[in-house]
Symmetry: D2
Amino acid sequence: MVDVQNRPDNRNIPVDQVGVSDLRYPITVLDRHRGRQDTVANITMTVNLPHHFKGTHMSRFIEVLNSHRGEVTMWTVLHILHDLQERLDAERAHVEVVFPYFLEKLAPVSRAPGLMEYECAFVGESGAGGDDFVLSVKVPVTSLCPCSKALSRYGAHNQRGHITIEARSCTVAEKPEELIWIEELVEVAEASASAPVYALLKRDDEKELTERAYDHPVFVEDIVRNVAQKMMADPRVAWFRVTAVNQESIHNHSAFAKIEWRR
Amino acid sequence: MVDVQNRPDNRNIPVDQVGVSDLRYPITVLDRHRGRQDTVANITMTVNLPHHFKGTHMSRFIEVLNSHRGEVTMWTVLHILHDLQERLDAERAHVEVVFPYFLEKLAPVSRAPGLMEYECAFVGESGAGGDDFVLSVKVPVTSLCPCSKALSRYGAHNQRGHITIEARSCTVAEKPEELIWIEELVEVAEASASAPVYALLKRDDEKELTERAYDHPVFVEDIVRNVAQKMMADPRVAWFRVTAVNQESIHNHSAFAKIEWRR
Amino acid sequence: MVDVQNRPDNRNIPVDQVGVSDLRYPITVLDRHRGRQDTVANITMTVNLPHHFKGTHMSRFIEVLNSHRGEVTMWTVLHILHDLQERLDAERAHVEVVFPYFLEKLAPVSRAPGLMEYECAFVGESGAGGDDFVLSVKVPVTSLCPCSKALSRYGAHNQRGHITIEARSCTVAEKPEELIWIEELVEVAEASASAPVYALLKRDDEKELTERAYDHPVFVEDIVRNVAQKMMADPRVAWFRVTAVNQESIHNHSAFAKIEWRR
Amino acid sequence: MVDVQNRPDNRNIPVDQVGVSDLRYPITVLDRHRGRQDTVANITMTVNLPHHFKGTHMSRFIEVLNSHRGEVTMWTVLHILHDLQERLDAERAHVEVVFPYFLEKLAPVSRAPGLMEYECAFVGESGAGGDDFVLSVKVPVTSLCPCSKALSRYGAHNQRGHITIEARSCTVAEKPEELIWIEELVEVAEASASAPVYALLKRDDEKELTERAYDHPVFVEDIVRNVAQKMMADPRVAWFRVTAVNQESIHNHSAFAKIEWRR
């Protein structure tokens, strides 16, 4: 059969990225405490296309992914990238895997267990400059406004916020114990807000969290600075970006802050 | 040219609704204070299709809409429905128009003006039983948890919530002054929560709203009951449905409540 | 500690539904071929609240869900409903569980395997009238326009469409072999469109599907009627609703059709 | 009253961006043919925060926006940036304004008029390096697969795709006639695909577009290269990025391609 994609192209324009996006796929990721966790990912995979080829071969992206049978860790992301480079004869490959990840958390007083979801992402790239890997974790938190607390005779407006931390390691981890874990970034984020959020809270817990939030007011600016302090102090971190978005309870828009840093 | 849609169909199955959806269209709606307001709508328009026809004529939906030049009030919705019935030779027609609507609100203390957006909808239906029209308004508010306030030595968790009120009038309004206005449903919703939300607040306003919310704690159950009380007391209202969704600041899920009522 | 929710309410207005929504939770569902499948759900759980109670107890919803440890089948949905009625002292309970479900499909010619995702839902309700259970499956398909084919000298516009089938059984299944399976509704939907869609296709497959779609043109009206014919002929089906939405490739809006039927 | 935001901060960490996001606002933009067009925007506005300040003043963002009364052009975006820098005592300011824009298009044969929506964005930044402005336009199109056409005896799969062009001018336009217009980028995108899409098509138009698409098959790779050729040939363009996403009608995932270029 004809292979239209392999035909030459004379426009003389290389394509930076070509591939598949919005691909849903069941995956298994590493779980620090339970070993493995099954989840469902949204995947983008691309390669570069030299100027002299008309098209890439889209089915090979899926074949490469299938060959890894849904196992997705930092290491398999790098393998997928290298397989894409080889199968598609490309200099560069890029992979993004976005997925919900669940952690069992105990309520602060009652110790009642509940499952919390964190939206995570693995973003990998392979090219002339070597391999690159970024872990991203989005953490819901409570934030309580310092200004509202200082001004008001009682109460203070608070709300759900989302902290997203993206991090790149100084060196490629060779063993699981050298990884920066999702669980660690969740801890960093939760310790940087007014209080963590939980799936299951009894009355004692609600009292404790209400008072804790009131005792720890933060602006979005404080949240990203608190995260930045902790990330800068971690010698494993080469680069990070943190954003905080508060769903302000007194407005219908959000408050937003961002810090990007490299060692 | 052939008219495939007009061919007979022998499966003997009528189609309840057929038409266009996800159509984006600029519209002009009535504004209680400024006369008219330009906005952008997402529109669905359908008719029923008798069992003996193979297909409807999709382009006529757009032609009917175009003939009304984007003017969308309760009355034009009814005209659009009747035009659809006639142009498409249908017994029933259904139209949904969803759009953002803006109101200028003054901050409670500083009186600083700010524009608030409310997602609104007109849903019209015309058939053997006559004409039907439902107005829907979604209002962001602050809700402060009575349980958290009662339990805690200080503070109380609060959050942004959304109240959606859908309402049907007892009689078809013949003049603007007989209408149930978007502005009226916004007032009902805001008065049923812990406090309204605003686009622009100065420090005095933030103090006032923080304290007001603390003084008026409500559960989602309270919100829908407070709305229900006001709607039941309005003799113009034949039917309503109210839902409240709180973006809980101590959880990553929402609290939800609903009441439906007819006179 | 005080129990604010248990306080009496004197507004004399019962609340139809109160509970939690947008709750993300890892679940395990039945898989016709592989026994079980792990996935991630979005869950809503509500009960009614009699007029004399001020509030429900939100944490008990999560406790009931936790007690079933994420096992979600038609039977566990009914158990969850009964547990909610009992734990929350309610006459009625309602549960919605929406989740992605994956099937391995073989490409039509090359037999290359690929994983396809279908968005599914279990909707259960329990009350004075007994138990109710509805299965919902959303299936992406190819649709090719009969009008475009008939008019044009060559080619025909085609596009991705989505068929959603919701179905209720005549009798409550007591064993897995009596269930209406997700896999069966996927087959009904795919056989009602111009062609199925796949995750992985080689050149031979692409030729086959292109020609198959051209040989089987359907309007949205045809799709819902084709589904309706098959569902009406299935003696297990007591009620169904089918909707088809085509992402028209010649427009920026969708074509829409719907049929609802009860035996 | 206390001004918490003005308090000193001793963490010694500057914040790159702080401000408001998800702000909905009615705006008026320039329309090449009709002079002005009313629409509704989603707005983000941020400034940098030096390390020694605790917080920014969120209400001033809204005040600056209000002072421009919703008039949003390339020039007012620059004014808003400068006002933000001044009002918030900041070195850098960033503004993003995303909005639907409507164009009346005539169907290719019948000349029937219809309104098409394009999602547009103005992204402005002001800092030590001067002012920056990027126009972004997202254009829905038809794409027909060259591989499917070449392989198949008849037909070819086609689908809706979206082309996003972001462009930066070589010099700041001083008059409207020097601007790169939304209308021009729409034309570039539509001429780079298999066929444009329309809101209203009669039978003659559907025939014409079906055949035109079949005569002009393109991969996503072709789309971005076709756009790139036209943009590179325009001496006003200093930089552009083009992405194409096809909602493949034979898959449930998308095909994706991207080119970024600077003169």
